[in-house]
């Protein structure tokens, strides 16, 4: 046996990478909260009107008087055994995140599908328009402007606008909140549509621009000229030669964005629509400078990013024979 199977080396490589990433990100997050002002957890735990003695007691009780690395290790132990407790609310963080996840998963899955479809559609239309006459090129520029507006629209503004007009004024959609899918599928859907639209607007604009540029690049490739010279139909040239190659960069982009939103990355949207998801939890914990939930959510995001990037690499390798897994 000279060398291991390439899939095995790939898997081992990624596992090692994951451990390193989790370690690095956790140390960094931990250290940041050690140095920022007003970050002392003992003050928070002891309450607003605590005496110096009470604070001291808390410090000893929770082990904040021990060396940093001991505190770090203990935090890690608690995280990985699922026993980590929030400093400000004294609830189990892992259990809390478990309760928040369904909302975030609902948001991520729905929105990511929508933004992918919208982004690809707009990108293809833009690229096709850009190669036509003067009027079409003007339409393409208009699309570009719309996309730029979507990209630069702040989530809280867009979400509030949607809520105000479609929820508060027209009563088409509920005013935020989350209804579990298992309890009330229709209620779930009506509650999710506005958040989905809100996230989709943010991402679709960006995706459409990336894909448009990618398609225009690909159309200039000489294998596309070869395809035309073969006498196959323009639609076939577009689908099997242009699109297939242009979509390759979108795949990895999508995987990473999916991971980020799933790891609570859409915290503004979640907060505006009061979804009570992981992102909202992260936002609230940050406001309270509550280290344990922030640590767990950061590590969860890092974990998801590594996993999803591995998955997108596998998909890339399946789509593009030139890509080698490593």
């Amino acid at each position: 046996m000279r060398a291991a199977h390439p899939m095995l080396t790939f898997a081992v490589r990624r596992l090692v990478a994951m451990v390193l990433v989790l370690f690095a990100i956790s140390v960094l997050t931990f250290l940041i909260f050690q140095v920022i002002p007003d970050g002392d957890p003992a003050l928070r735990l002891a309450g607003k009107f605590a005496t110096p003695q009470e604070i001291k007691d808390v410090r000893i009780q929770w082990g904040f008087n021990q060396p940093i690395w001991v505190q770090y290790l203990r935090m890690m132990e608690q995280i990985f055994t699922g026993k980590v407790i929030s400093y400000t609310q004294q609830v189990n963080v892992v259990r809390q995140i478990g309760e928040d996840l369904p909302a975030t998963i609902s948001l991520t899955v729905g929105a990511s599908v929508l933004w992918l479809i919208a982004g690809v559609a707009l990108g293809v239309v833009g690229a096709l328009l850009a190669r036509r006459g003067r009027v079409a090129r003007a339409a393409d520029r208009l699309l570009g402007a719309v996309a730029m507006t979507g990209i630069s629209m702040p989530a809280f503004l867009l979400g509030d606008l949607l809520l105000f007009y479609l929820g508060f004024k027209l009563h088409v959609f509920p005013l935020g909140g989350y209804v579990p899918l298992t309890e009330d599928p229709v209620g779930w859907l009506t509650h999710m549509i506005l958040p989905w639209i809100s996230v989709t607007v943010l991402f679709a604009g960006f995706y459409s621009r990336v894909l448009r540029a990618s398609i225009l690049d690909t159309m200039g490739e000489s294998y596309v000229a070869t395809a035309r010279a073969k006498g196959i139909s323009p639609r076939r040239v577009m689908v099997s030669h242009v699109l297939r190659n242009s979509l390759l960069p979108i795949v990895s982009l999508w995987g990473l964005d999916f991971a980020a939103v799933l790891g609570g990355g859409a915290l503004l949207t979640e907060t505006v629509f009061n979804l009570k998801g992981v992102g909202q939890y992260a936002a609230e914990s940050t406001q309270r400078l509550d280290i344990p939930p922030i640590m767990v959510i950061t590590m969860l995001t890092a974990f998801l990013v590594v996993v999803l990037s591995t998955v997108t690499d596998l998909v890339q390798a399946a789509l593009d024979p030139r890509v080698r897994l490593r």
Binding site: P6, T9, T218, P249, D313, Q316, A317, R324, L325
Partner: protein, 383 residues
């Protein structure tokens, strides 16, 4: 592998040098018994060009293959001051590795690289810095090797400043440099994309000359250019070799440029024997990581000793309708350098191969006329 010393080359180099200049006791550049082996990787034959807007992490080397690429195997060359040596061979013969090895961009697995008599095989980056100024590279693709956001003047100013030109004289020096490669003063203000391919290559050469190098390493400098532009660059190199600037007016009498420093030596790598013959004093022919023949350019081209050299000669198109299409003496392509054939590496494609060639690797030996050839059945003196 052969175990045979391949030192004749050094003497040949020294002899040519002695004929050229009196101060040339030691070769300017000397590679002795250099081998470069590296693990087979996608970096060589893997993704490049072909519309790869892929994330870079996709295209790296695969660690699956533990095979070793024998890019260079026991190669010795020597270049005397002012001399020009051409390295010819097909893609993958190791000629680019050779030039990169000379510039220490690639480390030799074994053997030694000496420049101006000093061993630089293992020299540190810091120690290499002064060496690299005296040995400048010109790349195949001038478009890729010039900074697209820098005007030509600035591209040339950087090495000139490094070479110690005072700020006040900078512009004059840039203009002189441009004139030396056949460009005008106003090209100073151009960006690379505003120039033609040939002009960009002239800038590439000017940038190399700015350091007043003693050696120019030219890696396929003309193969990406049109034949007409190729001829211009070849003529420019011929002028540089003779220490003259290019002709100033089109044909208004060859007005030699300013009396410049002694002409640099050249290591010129190409796949086209006709171009190499036009530029170089001596030629070394490479096949699969080995030198198979070397000697004075005219001799090698007039009467090749190695069947591979003859095949390369036959592949050069004859600009003569009566000659018909070029003879195809070489079918297929060179075998993989990861598993070179046993014996003579050329024997599977060689019309003269015998059973001996499959068994035993022919050593690179001096012939009666002084040049070197590695062949069990060399071609006769006349062809």
């Amino acid at each position: 592998m052969s175990g045979e010393p391949v030192s004749g080359e050094r003497f040949a180099g020294a002899r040519a040098a002695a004929a050229d200049a009196a101060d040339a006791q030691t070769p300017l550049l000397e590679l002795s018994h250099v081998s470069v082996h590296f693990p087979a990787a996608a970096g060589l034959a893997g993704p490049r060009g072909g519309g790869s807007r892929l994330p870079s992490r996709g295209g790296g080397p695969s660690r699956r293959a533990r095979e070793v690429v024998h890019a260079l195997d026991d190669v010795s060359i020597a270049i005397a001051p002012g001399e020009s040596l051409g390295i010819v061979g097909e893609s993958g013969c190791g000629k680019t590795t050779l030039i990169r090895c000379a510039a220490r961009l690639v480390d030799a697995t074994s053997g030694s690289v000496r420049f101006e008599g000093a061993d630089i095989t293992r020299a540190s980056r810091r120690a290499l810095r002064p060496v690299r100024r005296r040995m400048q590279m010109v790349f195949q693709d001038p478009e890729a090797s010039l900074n697209p956001r820098r005007r030509v003047g600035r591209t040339l100013a950087t090495p000139l400043k490094l070479a110690g030109v005072p700020r006040a004289r900078l512009e004059d020096e840039i203009v002189a440099l441009l004139a030396r490669v056949g460009l005008e003063r106003e090209h100073m203000h151009s960006y690379p994309h505003e120039l033609s391919g040939g002009q960009r290559q002239r800038v590439g050469i000017a940038r190399a000359l700015a350091m007043r190098p003693r050696l120019l390493l030219l890696d396929e400098p003309v193969s990406a250019l049109d034949v007409s532009v190729r001829a211009q660059i070849v003529n420019l190199l011929a002028d540089l070799r003779e220490g003259a600037g290019p002709r100033q007016g089109a044909r208004a009498g060859a007005a030699p440029g300013p009396p410049a420093e002694p002409p640099p030596a050249m290591l010129f790598v190409a796949h086209d024997l006709a171009i190499v013959r036009q530029v170089c004093d001596r030629i070394a022919v490479m096949y699969l990581g080995k030198i198979v023949e070397s000697g004075p350019a005219e001799q090698v081209c007039r009467a090749p000793a190695h069947p591979y050299t003859r095949a390369l000669l036959a592949a050069v198109p004859k600009a003569d309708p009566a000659a018909g299409p070029p003879r195809v003496e070489l079918t297929g392509e060179p075998p993989s350098a990861t598993a070179p054939p046993p014996g003579c590496r050329f024997h599977p494609r060689c019309p003269r191969a015998s059973e001996l060639c499959a068994r035993e690797e022919p050593p690179l030996l001096p012939r009666a006329d002084g040049r070197l050839a590695a062949c069990h059945h060399p071609l006769g003196a006349a062809v």
